[in-house]
Symmetry: C2
Subunit: 251 residues, 2 copies
């Protein structure tokens, strides 16, 4: 059996998240349908981030599947792109070693969170961003990011939800955030979060804290208290899904 790795790009706004759900359009269903139709046999995939929410986008989501087919990679990619909806595409296709698993082999994942920060909404640049009309102090957001960066127990940043408990009980709630950057280009603020793993809604909850800090609604010295509380109720509301993009997965 060959083990094939696909790198997908998608606009998540028309999907109810990644994971299959009966009677709803999901990314897993769309990709497995295209694969099964191409190979004329039932194909199942594993994904780097298999539990992303409705509305979350991906610049690089990685999945893998097994097949006995001997078709050329280039032809598989072409065929899948013809079968997939416009909002999903296979950007890269590679042979992977037998032991490769898109989820369990992940070393690092990078998410971006986009904020449109201008009094007026932007139909062109704000389409995949959370609109914050009031002023945001990027300097304060960077100082807040400096506090959250590093190895911490992120339990206060983990929402309750399907799979959340199972995953956190298996691995605990300690994660290492290797990179947490805040950049502004005109009205668009991009938060980049890179970590060895993410708890349920962790990026959206980190974005919520940085935005609250940037608005001046959260004192920087409170951020360490939020981490220490190890309680979701200690942190502000998470930011909405539409600003979130899975940007990169490293193995």
């Amino acid at each position: 059996m060959r083990n094939i790795k696909l790198t997908l790009e998608y606009d998540g706004s028309g999907f109810f998240g990644f994971q299959k759900q009966p009677g709803r359009a999901t990314l897993q269903e769309a990709v497995e349908k295209a694969l099964s139709s191409f190979f004329d046999a039932k194909v199942k995939i594993a994904a780097a981030s298999g539990r992303t929410d409705a509305g979350v986008h991906a610049l690089e989501q990685v999945v893998n599947f097994k097949t006995a087919s001997t078709r050329e990679l280039r032809l598989i990619q072409k065929g899948l792109n013809a079968l997939l909806p416009e909002s999903v595409s296979v950007r890269k296709i590679e042979e992977a070693p037998a032991e490769f698993h898109a989820r369990y082999s992940v070393k690092l994942k990078t998410y971006e969170y986009h904020v449109w920060n201008d009094p007026v909404r932007s139909p062109l640049f704000g389409l995949r961003a959370f609109h914050v009309p009031g002023p945001l102090d990027v300097g304060r957001m960077r100082r807040a990011a400096g506090i959250l960066k590093g190895r911490h127990d992120f339990r206060s940043f983990c929402d309750a939800g399907s799979g959340a408990l199972a995953d956190s009980s298996r691995r605990g709630t300690v994660r290492t955030v290797k990179r947490l950057e805040v950049k502004r280009q005109g009205g668009l603020i991009t938060l980049t979060v890179e970590a060895d793993g993410f708890l349920y809604h962790m990026v959206r909850n980190i974005a919520g804290v940085l935005i609250a800090a940037g608005r001046g609604r959260l004192a920087l010295k409170k951020i360490r208290d939020i981490l220490n509380a190890r309680d979701r109720r200690a942190a502000p509301q998470g930011a909405p899904a539409r600003g979130l993009v899975l940007a990169r997965v490293r193995y």
Copy 2:
């Protein structure tokens, strides 16, 4: 009466172009409806580019209207943004001199045309771009642009259509293209066209010529023949509306 100038940004993909048409969603209808509802009186607008096609976007479309209302500009802007659909916003609002007319006072307009040039479509970056999967030689596109730049009779770049003849018979078909640039950033190619006026579909037809040149399907020496022919049939097919953005209007 006050004369008020609005700068609009919109995603044109959900509209049948700018100009009112019975029974269809158009930008003119959406904006006049919001204005009439805000002022509780029938309001009509004039637009810098009032005849753009279905699917064309704007970063800066300018319109003006007259009103006897004494309300503050800031409040008018806020009210309109609350009444307009998500895909349209009033980015700027200003008082204009009585003689200002959004269409007849235009000095320069700038359009951008976006091409996604990669074998695989991009659901995130290619959303508002024309997908050209085969290779494009940007150097050749720039040389083609150098030939089209300047003051020429652009009749070969003017499609037949409503208003096209009326406008060209009034002003003729000579226009001055002051800027015609080709930039590449990864898979995204942006053509920037600035001129003192545009014939019907002129930017899309210029984009069609530059793309044909970039593909190697059109010899550079043929471009002067196309201009000299003063006949639409001499030029290649125009590029589709989805890649076109009205970027700036100067008065």
